[in-house]
Symmetry: D4
């Protein structure tokens, strides 16, 4: 099998156009400017990328050297191997499917972020939010299994919730928890719908709509299963005052 | 303008086929057998019917004479006039947009039906459910404005809710109330989504999905704004034991 | 590969935060209070949970000891192994993909629940409903393959249907059976749509909408393929009178 | 206000391009060839056309002279006036919102078309189907108010239904009637969903999906509220054999 | 592992309730009456059934003995093995994923059914329609790869299309072919949308909507990928006159 | 016409149950506790309420006396009259369709809220957000007509945007502006989709999805046209530190 | 009624913030740079704007003086009055609901744009496309009523279609025409779906999906009823070569 | 197992009808006329075709001999093997999943096509567009990773973008890039949404809607992930003038 076409006029091979395959320039132009411009570094969303593409990006991250940690999110088995081959000391969290390099998070600063997880099945998304908030520099803590089917569980955590500067609520199925939490506290609630549930949850559409229609004001909604986005937004809300 | 076609072969006018216009046979075959078969009489859903059609049905109801009350639901101004012209002593409730004839409800029998209304805008649907349950023979009461944005309001009604044999919960927007109520009581919850809310409520789709995905088991869902259906189902659930 | 980040400041590992992995506190806070509050125990929805999480929950159930049976629903192969490793005498039903421990159901009490299954492909959902009703204490029986394409089949079961205090109707495709059954009986119909059907069934959306729009009042709808929810609701409807 | 732009270069007025306004060439090119090609004349769908456009088409129909009747469907008040001004002897049916010219239908030929109407609110669509079948030359009859909530009503019409060469079933809400009818007869069922129903009928989407998923084979589905299309298809199915 | 619960009161095992597993009574009640009632035998939709269930049904079909052929549609590899184990001389068509027993189709009778296939990827659905029409007794023929992107291809088949008593058009992507074909012939068009296409075909939703909105009257739509339904409907349309 | 049913047993009139009509207890239980619990007062969403209901609520607000201003949002003509009859000195903003009483906003405190309006048609929603933020105590300013079709317009406002503690971006049509803004600043962006646009905007669904899928992290989404919710959330984000 | 709040601290009235009401700065920042940047002037989409806002924009257009014509699209009656009050010599086309000022279009340059209109009801959208193309400087012509139900009509226009550099095809209902046209010519087809059709057209969703799934490559799709966008895109495609 | 049915009357095997299996006539009628009629050859969409079908088509392409290259798009592993077995010198691009035979592209002619890729995950679709444009004879180049989250990246490519005669923009997630690009240049933008993104991207629906609602005119949208269609349309737009 010949992958190289023959005879003139040669069709320009796009792989050639794009330079040496799997070098960074071929697949991505990292937004190194983002930290300066926004105060937060760019993250790498692994899903939909090949392992080779992720490896090339990891190598470029390594070459750039120190600075705020770069996060690799939604990393499957092959992605994890690819990152660790380039960045052996990266921190890897299996629950959150997330890697970070450099592995150490900055010292916590700003207000506290509370991450509330409605059910056990929502835990991977909640963990991704939790780690994201920590790597962006916030103190963050996790509260598990406090769905509205047993209200006493969430009411028992009110003290913690009222201490937080931002609360991330992760919930699938009916997605009712953010409405309940927002009705009890002064801080903004970042609602993350998950794809957990029976058929009519339609892959997270049901809790997404619930959260957008929260009867309590103060609920900010992000994409389905997007723990990274929820943690990032909460970290921005809880950021320390600018001097 | 000639509405009667001329010349042979004459097209058979469907109005003629169906006999004298606006007599009952032309538009409806009442299910008089329903009470015997199901124990509950047929109701007349007025929306989408002309005033003349409703009048013809009201006349037939009158001619059939006494028995359990026939309900005319979703009655607009013209429908109300049409029914009252035939059945001047019919009971008419403006909030519920409902008429009943004979006007008296049967003596309350069976378990209590509690109708819970999340917000003021949901009131017409809640009233329709309340009256339906009463006209089908159940003791029924209304609890208003207890949305989840202020949990203390619903928690303050727990005694009443726990007394009921069936609870109808009417809610728009996030539709989160049935999940919360069902998590607190032993009786079945009949959830009625309403079309109240901002754009992403999509005419009631959002609370409908929320209710179908209730994380508390024991939530039965009926159609959007269908207070009649909610009250009917609750009346069946709370029916007295058969001998 | 190092999963432990090095050097100060150490990012707080969420797994550490949450204590020893796979102990119950890490993943779930069981609602032991539910039986007292609602009269029915909590069930464990296995789908979306890891085997280790399910095992931890099963161990906690075992440690709590006797009481009403806990159900593990939607159990895949790994979940079944995990539960049986902790609770070797649990009852396991392959059709319903359900485990129960303690394995014995309570003596039947209250009205009868009839579970009607429209087609053979709907059988797993119907079995889940049937077992749920029995483990919640109701006498329950199954009627199979009585779709509306052959009306004589459902009409031949009218005696059984009219004896029941609640009828669960499980159907995919057009979902027309609940309308037909509800039109024939006095008891409430709990309609469970299934994801069985050709493309335009859209994973159960079609029968779900059909059931929500049932032209016969008295149809309560639950989530797609949610046999557990259907059986639970029917058990509540058919509950014996409170003293 | 000047509607005529001035000064060179004059923008070409599209009205001028298209010739004298409201003459037929300006708005429509009638498919006079259709009767020869298909055996059935073109119909004029009035909704979305201005009264002036409909008048121009009516004048062209008049000028073409005799032949099979042209139908004007979905005619609102202004459309009716416009047609009758040009074709004063046109037949007009208020229920079906349909006009026909020449007013006389052809002598009935071919098999019988039965039009079944589930509820009174579906009557306008059913009448449109009935008249369409008759004007295309079929014997046709109407059966009203036989929804599945009272099965005895449709079962009482089985003799008529089994005589028909094609059965049009018009239904809103759950749209379950075509499945039931198709399961009882040998002839094809043409199912016409209507936009009648509570919110989750979504303007006819619910019965449309029900009909597409009919568990009885032999159900042909047309567009929502499209009585014309249902009657036309039935007329084609019941056409007499070609010589 | 114990699947048999111990100790009184024993929960009634649904498998026991339903008798000996995998006997027909356990999973299906064949509609043997259908041929007498409708003139066409019941078919077995294999998708969603276990191989054991299909085998039990096949055995029941064998025991019932001769008569019109029973079709097993949407048969996957395990289903095929299960049927052929019970009915070794069944006819099996790989393209259509369909089995028939007895294997011989009836002698062709009635009008011709033409099955038109828009693209090569639609072929499995078209073959299912073709074989269904033949096994229900109609002469039927297949026309391939005549999509509207090259109109000359369909125009070149006009003679064949105009001979048919019913035309089945199978198309994915834009689903435009039925509109074009219906505009050219007098016979009814049965349109079968397929799930073939790029993302915005949404699993067949796009061609389904196209076909429901066909600007040419005379298009009957069935479910996505439902070649069986399309062939069945066409066979009914093209049925010979009743005596 | 008699609205009072006659003869025993009298059906309990729900209007009676609920006390004297149009007194507050009949329609709403104000959440006076909200300010203490959350720090922000309850608002009154007028749409879907009758003028009489709004008047009753306004009277109750007046009777409660001073405190943080109560907002009446989405007020139509009749609502405005009803509020001003009870609260003649209420502040009324026609663009935002919003009333406030007491009319004076608190002195600005906390970080600045910037409200960015993509197009002129989005202005009512933007004004509602602006006023809400001010009445909840934040300094807030409006930036108009800076859609992405002319990037230089938004780039020209970067200084103002980078000063804000929270930025509300209101946009219809493609809803692309929040992604662009979030990519340029460190503060959280609250995105409010509007229902402005051509058909495929589907009443705001298109910009809603765009915003949920923003490729820049840091975008919080609220309901369609929900300027109140956007302003409320921004005010919470920009709240002054708790002591 | 007082619209001016009293007492310090005065809430900043957003109307004041935004300067004198109804001056341009209050509602819009015109993109005067667009013509230089893109070669085409900005248009004003009137729908959703108040008459006063449109008047302010029209005055600004007048003050800017000559240059390429500014188009005001989707102008309702009040918008038309507002524009003509400021720009009395503007050209106004009733079919297209469009105004242009200065009224004269530029001399035609570049390739020809053919605008094809499937049905009479699609005419307003087609006229908007036609005029837009002309005002952007292209020669453009209109072809009416050539739907695929009568293929001979479109085939009879092949010569004109093959002369065009870009073809705009405007169609509702099944939206099949662009596929057919694109299959016959070399030039790109700009497809504009319209909201014309029966219920399952879902406001233009059906033809939109059809066009996106066109089996002929070379079909570019724009928004529903967006004649302006279709004409604009075609004008860009048919633009004369840059020097 | 017998695949050949026995006994008279033999059901006509469709495989026999269609001649020798896997010869071209059995599965496809190539549109050899397309190049003459449209100027561009037909492509073969492999997805949904069996390897044997693709092999038969490849053989037919080989037998037809030289001419413009035929493209095989969306080729999976088995398709690639099948094509290369028949056409060993075909050009194969792994990123684009595309084969071409003859392997050489024509000499570049006409205007330049720029293909812009928003993110790395969109690269396969962008490569398919790039190669399609080249094989249809246009000079084409690729610009990678210029999403709107970092505007400076796209602004840095303005010179290249303004040189192009057509720009293809490939983007998933929010799909905002085409609006931004179209607002900066005079040439048409062909927007290709991709299925890349979190849950609420709904398989590409979100960017598809964004692009259809682009607030900048001049955006042409094609199907989700349809790089071939995007490249084809751009090649037509950038075609050299006809003589």
């Amino acid at each position: 099998m010949s992958e190289t076409p023959t005879g003139p006029p040669v069709p320009q091979d796009p792989a050639e156009d794009r330079g040496v395959p799997l070098e960074l320039a071929a697949v991505a132009e990292l937004d190194h400017d983002r930290t300066r411009r926004r105060g937060y570094p760019e993250a790498v969303y692994c899903e939909g990328k090949t392992a080779a593409q992720v490896a090339a990006i990891a190598a470029a991250v390594r070459d750039k050297g120190s600075g705020p940690a770069t996060l690799f999110t939604r990393a499957g088995g092959e992605h994890v191997k690819a990152v660790l081959a380039e960045l052996p000391d990266a921190h890897y969290d299996t629950d959150a499917r997330l890697l970070a390099w450099p592995p150490t998070a900055p010292p916590p600063d700003g207000g506290t972020v509370a991450v509330v997880c409605a059910g056990t099945s929502d835990l991977p998304v909640a963990c991704e939010a939790l780690l994201t908030a920590r790597y962006l520099g916030r103190p963050a803590e996790l509260i598990v299994d406090v769905g509205v089917a047993g209200l006493h569980r969430v009411l028992g955590k009110l003290d913690v919730l009222r201490e937080a500067r931002a609360v991330v609520v992760v919930a699938g199925m009916d997605g009712a928890l953010p409405s309940v939490v927002a009705g009890l506290i002064a801080a903004p609630v970042v609602a993350v719908p998950t794809s957990v549930g029976y058929g009519a949850a339609f892959g997270g559409l049901a809790p997404l709509l619930t959260m957008l229609n929260a009867c309590s004001p103060g609920v900010a909604v992000v994409n389905i299963d997007n723990g990274y986005g929820g943690g990032h937004l909460a970290a921005q809300i809880a950021a320390p005052p600018k001097d």
